[in-house]
Symmetry: C2
Subunit: 324 residues, 2 copies
Amino acid sequence: MITVQDVAHRAKVSTATVSRVLNKHASVSSATRERVETVIKKLGYRVDVSARLLRTSQTRLVLALVPDLSNPFYAEVLRGMSTVAREHNYELLLCETMVDEARERAFVQMLTSRLYDGVICMDPFTTQRLVSEQVKDLPWVACSEFVQGDAVPHVSINHQQAAMDATQYLLAKGHKRIALINSDEKYLYAKARRAGYEAAMGKRLRKSYIQTVGGVDFALGEQAAKQLLALAKPPSAIVAVSDTLAMGAIKACRTKGLMVPQDVAVIGFDDIPLASIFEPSLTTIAQPKAELGARAMHLLLERFKGKHPASETLSHRLIERESA
Amino acid sequence: MITVQDVAHRAKVSTATVSRVLNKHASVSSATRERVETVIKKLGYRVDVSARLLRTSQTRLVLALVPDLSNPFYAEVLRGMSTVAREHNYELLLCETMVDEARERAFVQMLTSRLYDGVICMDPFTTQRLVSEQVKDLPWVACSEFVQGDAVPHVSINHQQAAMDATQYLLAKGHKRIALINSDEKYLYAKARRAGYEAAMGKRLRKSYIQTVGGVDFALGEQAAKQLLALAKPPSAIVAVSDTLAMGAIKACRTKGLMVPQDVAVIGFDDIPLASIFEPSLTTIAQPKAELGARAMHLLLERFKGKHPASETLSHRLIERESA
DNA sequence: TTGTAGGCGTTATCAG
DNA sequence: CTGATAACGCCTACAA
């Protein structure tokens, strides 16, 4: 392994000078700077991050905790994060947590390892509470998910309002029997969207019209819709809390010979790239995905400066296409 | 910050003993072990990975380089990787590279930082060559993509054969005008699949039936198909090198009022989860995605043991559904 | 079984 | 502008 010592020796300077060159300190004559840089290149020297870290406690690495990468929603949020990160000379690393509580210890270990300057957490708020308790000194922010009333800065849309908008859109179209396909309520977004749906439905609300499934896979949406369509009085419209669930639901309708939106209207959430390609194209509540990620990273950068930025609520919007 | 020193002091032992407890050395009396562990808990002490790393050069962290997380193919491959990683007490971190050559330096920096015990690279082979040149001492393996003839162990399907199979399937159905929608040929899989397609087409091959696009977004597939359908003699069948491109292509057909598979048959690649939900459901070449990841991780674990495992070719299979 | 002490590669302080 | 040197927190011979 090549060290600053080797470089210093070869360039006939001290290690201190090499370090200065490395860190772009102004106080180095351009002659020596050039000499040192040549040697660095010739020897193929690279700084050892762990050694540097030991001194500076800075890695310029940010860790994003993602519950599930098979949900296309996250890919775009992450894109927003890493763009901003790179603009500020940080690198974004990802860890797919799969929300596995058994792994919690390994997990807290990672967060306390000081390998990352900060963390952006997209895990469900139930998990965030644990993190929050155990990880005190690491700057972190929450994205999309967050613990309500918690001091940790977060960025998110107003999930409840969004679900209300979706439901009211269907009500305005004359639908009365509107069902909800919700995902696991350990997620705040699921809890909140359910609340929004229920608020919009008011006294029309029927327990049997709410299907809760454990994730957002297409197949889960399909199954849930199958259940709903088997009811004595099946719904004429469905709100699904993710586009993937909505697509599964539409598949179930088709299988039953029902037309979307004529027989059953379906509205999704997120506006994933596929939403406009799918047939029928999806009416959906769009989240500003890249911006969600970008703002979250900005929040974290503020935290790095020792500030405590306010949380942000970004606006969603309903995109009307064919499915509802 | 709480250090081994603090713990040692409080437990009235030496730092060496604390370290032994930490690393589960046998030679500590259970009395002192217990005492030390109590103090560790009370003080909330955690090892500083960077300091440990400086001594041991082990992080039990593996880095996976992924070109593009919006391609659903990768999510499942990564799943396979992390499952195996965790079984062996390694943690998998991800970095979405977006194949940005301008960032190459930051990149090589990450690989040489010693923060990761090893790397699994899914970046295009063009990038891998650079990595290979600059990163000498880090164990790494390639997954799906690889430099042909290179010594780096890899796991992959036989892309060329897979494309031949797809094309021959269409030929066997009586199609004569078969087009190819290929993605960027900086990817080996794209190059190889094109070669397979061309081999299968033999003298039927027509340059104008090959569309090459820069990625695998739905929209790109749609555009490419639009071009193909505008030809004087449009193809009666399309091989798309990814399911996402295939779906885009189908969308283009529909927009033109063409039926799939009656007017145009379309076959995809990968068998992403959506393939069976999409309408028409996709006939596609399935890759063993999770296994691809799992085997790649196994290869890396072998490398950690100082071995040099042989590369592996996993088998693909054609799944017949509605689209072709 | 336990303690002492040296060093991993880097950076920052303090002189010169 | 440059150099010597002391940390950073941990691990591991070697000694006791």
